[in-house]
């Protein structure tokens, strides 16, 4: 099978959906002529023109608001927020309007709006351009939150998001755009809300998503050499959370480590941990462990930035401690 990058996979997804459905259009900052800050919308403007690929002013609240209005009136907009760090500017639209309007109008309208954005650290962009804010978003009932880790998942999930009649926040990772993976040429989609076992194992369950999957895979390879078998659950969608898959894995291994780039306090890992306590308590043979980002604004220094988020070494240490000492 051919291998393409995460960026290409996303670009293909957009193009295929625009081709298939005339109501799909894109809007965002620098996405048309420039092709997007990370190049995801490259060449789409050339192909589909001004009416379907719109460069907007720098006004995130307006981007989401326009997207909502278009969605309510029958379009399938895909809005881009260049950095998730700017999501705070759109929270009035996103939290109070986008997420609630279908509910408040008794289901008389749908909101087929996809908000693409990207997050995470790794490029030493400092505290304003390196955050992981997904845990804010999973606290908003009414939206879906998708965070793919591989080119294959990115393409399949973006296509599903665009076809979804409810609003989706689709969070990419800036360090994944150049990663490559197998993506079939024929069309496929991946359902929202279904986690994926990226690696089967028997001793410890690693639950993760987005870029941290790569970190976990690296740690798992090292752990395997030492005889520790890890099972890796890639959540892929954070809201709704596929608790069932996580529970099934924990029932198999009885030990769980959650790995997230987001800072630890109040993070997604806390929610997963609570779900396991509620649903699989009797299968736990050791306390749940979280490996997460430090509770600090992301440092600009490359050395400190590396220290602020989990890496394979930290995951390796946490898992091997959990598997060995106990």
């Amino acid at each position: 099978m051919r291998e393409i990058t995460y960026r290409q996979a996303l670009n293909e997804a957009l193009m295929e959906e625009m081709e298939k459905d005339q109501d799909v259009f894109l809007l965002g900052e620098d996405i048309a002529i420039y092709g997007g800050a990370y190049g995801v919308t490259a060449d789409l403007w050339k192909k589909y023109g001004d009416r379907r690929v719109l460069d907007t002013p720098i006004s995130e609240n307006a981007i989401v608001g326009v997207g909502l209005g278009a969605a309510l009136t029958g379009m399938r907009p895909v809005a881009e927020i260049m950095y998730i760090d700017f999501i705070g500017l759109c929270l009035e639209q996103l939290n109070n309007q986008v997420a609630k309007i279908r509910y408040m109008f008794g289901g008389k309208c749908t909101v087929p709006l996809t908000i693409r954005t990207e997050g995470g650290a790794g490029r030493t962009l400092g505290a304003h351009h390196s955050q992981s804010l997904e845990s804010w978003l999973i606290h908003i009932p009414g939206i879906k939150v998708v965070m793919p880790s591989t080119p294959y998942d990115a393409k399949g999930l973006l296509k599903s998001s665009i076809r979804e009649d409810n609003p989706v926040v689709f969070i990419e990772h800036k360090m994944l755009y150049n990663t490559k993976g197998k993506v079939p040429e024929e069309e496929y989609i991946i359902p929202i809300g279904v986690a994926d076992i990226k690696r089967e194992g028997s001793d410890v369950t690693l639950v993760t998503y987005s870029r941290m999957l790569l970190v976990c895979m690296e740690a798992a390879a090292r752990l395997e050499k030492e005889g520790i078998s890890t099972e890796i659950v890639d959540l892929r969608t954070l809201l709704p959370l596929d608790t069932e898959t996580v529970v099934r894995s924990v029932k198999k291994t009885s030990r769980m480590v959650i790995v997230e780039e987001d800072c630890k306090t109040g993070g997604t890992g806390a929610e997963i941990s609570a779900q396991i306590m509620e649903n699989a308590f009797d299968w736990l043979d050791a306390p749940i462990v979280r490996v997460a980002g430090e509770d600090v604004p992301m440092p600009k220094s490359p050395v400190l930035e590396k220290l602020a988020i989990p890496d394979a070494e930290r995951v390796y240490r946490a898992v091997s401690k959990l598997a060995k000492e106990t």
């Binding site: 009885s254 308590f281 299968w283 736990l284 043979d285 050791a286």
Partner: protein, 401 residues
Amino acid sequence: MVREIIMPKLGETMEEGYIVSWKKAERDSVEKGEVLFEVMSDKTNFEVESLHSGYLIKKLYEPSDKPIPVTTIIGYLADTPDEKVPAVESKTGERKSEGERKVKVTAETAPAEKESEMAMISGEPSERLKASPLAKKMAREAGIDISVVKGSGPGERIEKKDVLEYLSTRKEKEQGAGEYRIQEWTPLRRIIAKRLTESKREIPHYYLQGKFLVDRVVHLKENLKEKQDTELTYTDFLIFAAAGAIREYPLINARLINGEIRIYSAINIGLAVSVEQGLLVPVLKNCEAMDIRSISIERKKIIEKARASMLSENEMKDAGFIISNLGMYGVENFQPIISPPGVAIMGVGKIGKEMIVVDDTPQIHYVMNVSFSFDHRVIDGSYAGLFYKRFKETFENPATG
């Protein structure tokens, strides 16, 4: 209003109790002061009264020989019969109880003492057994008591692999040993097992052995019998002699409690008594103030009570020195295990005629084989030797003792 009913802590050393019976059924009305249930602890039964009027809406435990840690919620009392039982995940806990129960002890207990016992109920949490939820579930499903499994996790937490290992060794043993039947643990058996294991594990025991020449005691006993006077037993003479010797060597009467060596002025002597279900130690209090006849009367009373399972908690506590006699079975000698917090115990063997060399001449004497076990943390050998010597002198010369 719904009130918790908990397993009361009825004495300093009580960690768990057994429900002997409920005196009320669920939804029965209960008057303040009425007996709610009966508890067995440290070898005694207590009736526990309700402090409030209301309805027994829920029993969480049925009577059984499974021990229940003190302060565990065992049921609920409500003002009306239809109130809902609160949902509780954990039944044990370090809950602060408001003295929800009152205990009626058959024997008289001083009010002050009662109060301190009540304080104990709400005070210290019992030490918690650490086991992973999975290990607990596996133990439950295998029908084993998880406390018998040794934990290998952090802080000795019992985990899955420990339960598996326990089950596999048990299986091996079962396969090797042929047919058997399982003797159920009785509550008393469990208590004996726990206490004596602790004693033998923690107390550095050492032993003294000797022979008492008891011709005089034998004769005196027979004379008294002929005179139809009070019938004294060898045990009475032993208690009397022990009290005398302890008066001079008070360390023998010490008890090791909370790291303190407490030397009591009252000389309370315990007697090991075999009963149907196991072993009891009724206590003869204040032996220092009694002559041998009073000792004999008290001794008879208390042993009869023990055999009839009528002993109160009070009659079994605060033993110092303990006497255990196996002489009637023809046993020559044995080394008894110290019963903490006491620090000394005596094992009495049979009385019989033996050839003894006195002044280069073989003589026939009545001889009693005795042995003593001491706690070396408190009592050194020379001190024990002096005590032994004094005991022997007193016992061998009853007229002067």
